[in-house]
C-alpha cells in the first residue's frame, strides 16, 4: 500500500488526525510512532493539512506530545490544529484515541 493513497483508498481502515501544518503536527507524527508500537504510521502531507494515520486504532498520549513539543501541552490543546480526523474519536484523561468499531 503506498503512503500517498492509503487514506484515499476505498474502504480502508485508516484512522487518525488530520492536522494543520506546524510544530504540533510534527510532534503528533512522532507521538503516533511512539504511542503505537508495532504499527506503521502513514503520513500524507497536503501542505495545508497533514494526514497522520494508522490501521484501525491510534492512541496519542499527552506526555508524549509534550515531550516531542518541548513545552507544556494539555490534551485539549490538540484541537488548535486538529482540523479533521478519520475514524471515531474517544476523549480520555491524558490521551485521545481514534478507532473504528467495525473492521472492513
Amino acid at each position: 500500500m503506498s503512503t500517498a493513497s492509503s487514506a484515499q483508498a476505498y474502504h480502508n481502515n485508516m484512522v487518525g488526525p488530520v492536522m494543520r501544518a506546524g510544530d504540533l503536527a510534527l510532534a503528533v507524527i512522532e507521538a503516533a510512532r511512539i504511542d503505537n508500537p508495532g504499527k506503521e504510521v502513514f503520513v500524507e502531507d497536503k501542505r495545508a493539512y497533514i494526514r497522520i494515520h494508522t490501521e484501525h486504532e491510534m492512541i496519542l498520549r499527552r506526555e508524549t506530545i509534550e515531550e516531542e513539543l518541548g513545552r507544556p501541552f494539555r490534551m485539549n490543546d490538540l484541537e488548535v490544529d486538529l482540523s479533521s480526523f478519520a475514524g471515531q474519536i474517544e476523549s480520555l484523561d491524558g490521551a485521545v484515541r481514534f478507532y473504528f468499531a467495525k473492521k472492513l
Binding site: 480502508n12 486538529l82 482540523s83 479533521s84 475514524g87
Partner: protein, 501 residues
C-alpha cells in the same frame, strides 16, 4: 491543591436533566423543537459525546486559535496578496465568502436550538460551544473580506449575498433552511453536524485550504483551516444521537435524514466547490481535482464513518459516485454562461493546457463538455459576444434550485424528472431530488423556484435585465469573464496558424 482529573467530574457536571414539576416534559421540550422521536428524557441521558470539551478549556483553545489566525492576517496584510492574486483566485474568495459567511450565523441559530431543546444534556453542552464556534466563523469571515470591499465591489457580497434573491443564494438558503433552520434539535444534529459537517465542510475548509496554500494565499488557508478545527469538534454532536436512535428502533428515520442532507450538500458543493477547484484555481496551484478531493473526504473518510455508525450507504450511492465525474462540469458551464447573474467573475478555465488536465482527470471531458465549450470559444474568438451571453433563464430543479442539466455531447443524458403534486407540476434534476420532495411534500411544495417566480410574473421586465434587478445585482457587480477573455488569444493564434498552414 489537588485537582480532579477532568473525566472524574465531567459526566456529573453536565448531568443537567431534572424532572419538571411545574410543567410537563412536553412543555419543557416541545416535541416539534426537541424532536425526541418518542423517546423520554432518560433515554437521551445515555447520550455520550465522544469529543469532550469543558468551557474553560474551550475559552483557552479558542483564544489560541484566534491569536493564530488574526496574527497571520496582520503579518501578511501588506503583502498585497489580494491585489496580486490571479483573477480566478479572487473569484474563489468572492464565491466562498458570499455563500458561506452569513450562513455561519444561521448555523449558530441551529446550534442554539440544540442547546435549548435537546433532551440530551451532553448535546446541550457541546452545542453551547458549537454555537460560539459558528459566531466566530461568522465574525471572522466578515472581518477578513472587509479590507477588500473598497478595492472591489463584488467583495461586498460577502456581506449581502444572503439578503439577495440571487439564484445561487436561493439554492443555498433552500438547502440550509431545510437541514438546519426548519428542523428539530435531533434532526439538526443528524443533518447539519453529522451529514454536512463531518463530511462536506472538509471539502470547502480543508480541500480548498490546500489549494489556497499552493496559490500563496496563506491568510485564507490559515483562516479556513482554523475554522475547520471548530467544525471537527462540533461535527461530533450528531454521532451519539444516531447511536441512540439506532438502539431505539429509529434507524430508518435517522437514515432518511442522512440521505436527504447528504444529497442536498452534494448538489450545493457541485455548483460552489466544483467549479472553483477545477476551473477557477490557477492550473499550477491545483493540489487535486474536485473529484479527488471528494474521493478523499466523502467517499473514503465520510462513507467509512457512516457505516461505522451502523448506518447504510444512502440508497442513491451509485448515482452519486457516477455524478462525481459529471455534475460540477455542467454547473460550471451553466454558471459561466449565466455569469452576469453571479457576484464573482467566473474563470472559463478552458485553455488547451487546462483542457488536457480536465481530460486527464475526467476522461471523455473533451467529447462532452468540451463540445459545448468549443461553441463558446468560437463565439468569443469570432467576436460574437452576443452569442456568448444568455438571454433567458435556465430551467431549475424544484429541490436543489440549481439548473437541470446532464452530460452534453457524446454522453448526452439530459433529462427532467417531473412530478405532479396537488395540481402543480414540479421539475427535478434527478431521481434523488424528486425522492427528497416525496419524503415530505408539504415541507417543499409551497416554494417557488426562480423560474416559477419568473413565469408567475414576479420578475419584471421579463428579460435578463429584469432578472438581474430581481437578483439585486447592480451593474458593476455582475460577473463577467475573470480574465477578460485573454485566454481566447491562444485559440485565435491557433486559428491563424491553421489558416496559414
Amino acid at each position: 491543591m489537588a485537582v480532579l482529573n477532568r473525566m472524574d467530574w465531567y459526566d456529573l457536571a453536565r448531568s443537567t436533566n431534572w424532572t419538571p414539576t411545574y410543567v410537563t416534559e412536553d412543555e419543557l421540550f416541545p416535541p416539534q423543537l426537541a424532536g425526541a422521536f418518542g423517546l423520554p428524557q432518560n433515554a437521551w441521558e445515555k447520550y455520550d459525546e465522544p469529543y469532550k470539551q469543558t468551557y474553560p478549556e474551550y475559552v483557552k483553545v479558542q483564544r489560541d486559535k484566534d491569536a493564530g489566525a488574526y496574527s497571520v492576517k496582520a503579518a501578511l496584510e501588506r503583502s498585497r496578496i489580494f491585489e496580486n492574486a490571479d483573477p480566478g483566485w479572487k473569484s474563489v474568495m468572492k464565491a466562498h465568502y458570499g455563500a458561506i459567511a452569513r450562513g455561519e450565523y444561521a448555523a449558530a441559530s441551529a446550534e442554539a436550538r440544540m442547546m435549548r431543546f435537546s433532551k440530551a444534556p451532553g448535546m446541550r453542552n457541546m452545542s453551547t460551544l458549537g454555537c460560539l464556534d459558528e459566531i466566530r466563523h461568522g465574525q471572522m469571515q466578515l472581518y477578513f473580506p472587509h479590507e477588500h470591499v473598497s478595492k472591489d465591489r463584488q467583495m461586498d457580497w460577502a456581506f449581502k449575498a444572503y439578503d439577495t434573491n440571487d439564484w445561487a443564494m436561493i439554492a443555498a438558503r433552500h438547502f440550509f433552511d431545510d437541514i438546519m433552520m426548519t428542523r428539530d434539535a435531533i434532526s439538526v444534529s443528524i443533518m447539519l453536524t453529522f451529514s454536512f459537517e463531518t463530511g462536506f465542510t472538509n471539502m470547502q475548509f480543508l480541500g480548498l485550504a490546500a489549494d489556497a496554500a499552493e496559490a500563496g494565499d496563506h491568510t485564507f488557508a490559515n483562516l479556513i483551516s482554523s475554522i475547520q478545527t471548530d467544525e471537527s469538534r462540533h461535527a461530533q454532536i450528531g454521532g451519539p444521537a444516531l447511536k441512540i436512535l439506532i438502539e431505539n428502533g429509529q434507524k430508518a428515520e435517522a437514515q432518511k435524514r442522512v440521505d436527504i442532507a447528504v444529497w442536498g450538500a452534494w448538489k450545493l458543493f457541485s455548483v460552489l466547490t466544483g467549479p472553483i477547484m477545477d476551473y477557477y484555481t490557477p492550473l499550477e496551484h491545483r493540489k487535486q481535482s474536485f473529484k479527488e478531493f471528494m474521493e478523499e473526504w466523502i467517499v473514503a473518510q465520510f462513507e467509512r464513518a457512516l457505516t461505522d455508525m451502523g448506518l447504510e450507504l444512502p440508497w442513491y450511492w451509485d448515482i452519486f459516485l457516477k455524478d462525481l465525474s459529471e455534475t460540477h462540469h455542467g454547473m460550471h458551464l451553466g454558471s459561466y454562461f449565466w455569469r452576469p447573474t453571479v457576484w464573482w467573475n467566473p474563470a472559463a478555465g478552458v485553455t488547451p493546457a487546462e483542457r488536457d488536465w480536465l481530460e486527464e482527470k475526467y476522461p471523455g471531458w473533451n467529447d462532452t463538455w468540451g463540445q459545448c465549450w468549443d461553441v463558446i470559444i468560437d463565439n468569443v474568438v469570432d467576436g460574437n459576444m452576443a452569442m456568448a451571453y444568455p438571454e433567458t433563464l435556465p430551467y431549475v430543479c424544484n429541490m436543489c434550485q440549481l439548473p437541470i442539466l446532464g452530460t452534453p455531447g457524446k454522453g448526452w443524458n439530459v433529462k427532467d424528472y417531473p412530478l405532479e403534486y396537488k395540481g402543480r407540476l414540479y421539475h427535478f434534476g434527478s431521481e434523488v431530488d424528486r425522492w427528497v420532495f416525496e419524503q415530505e411534500p408539504e415541507r417543499y411544495a409551497g416554494h417557488l423556484s426562480i423560474v416559477d417566480r419568473f413565469l408567475a410574473g414576479m420578475i419584471q421586465p421579463m428579460n435578463l435585465e429584469g432578472a438581474l434587478a430581481y437578483m439585486n445585482i447592480a451593474p458593476g457587480e455582475m460577473g463577467d469573464d475573470a480574465h477578460n477573455y485573454a485566454w481566447a488569444e491562444v485559440y485565435r493564434a491557433l486559428r491563424e496558424t491553421r489558416k496559414a498552414g
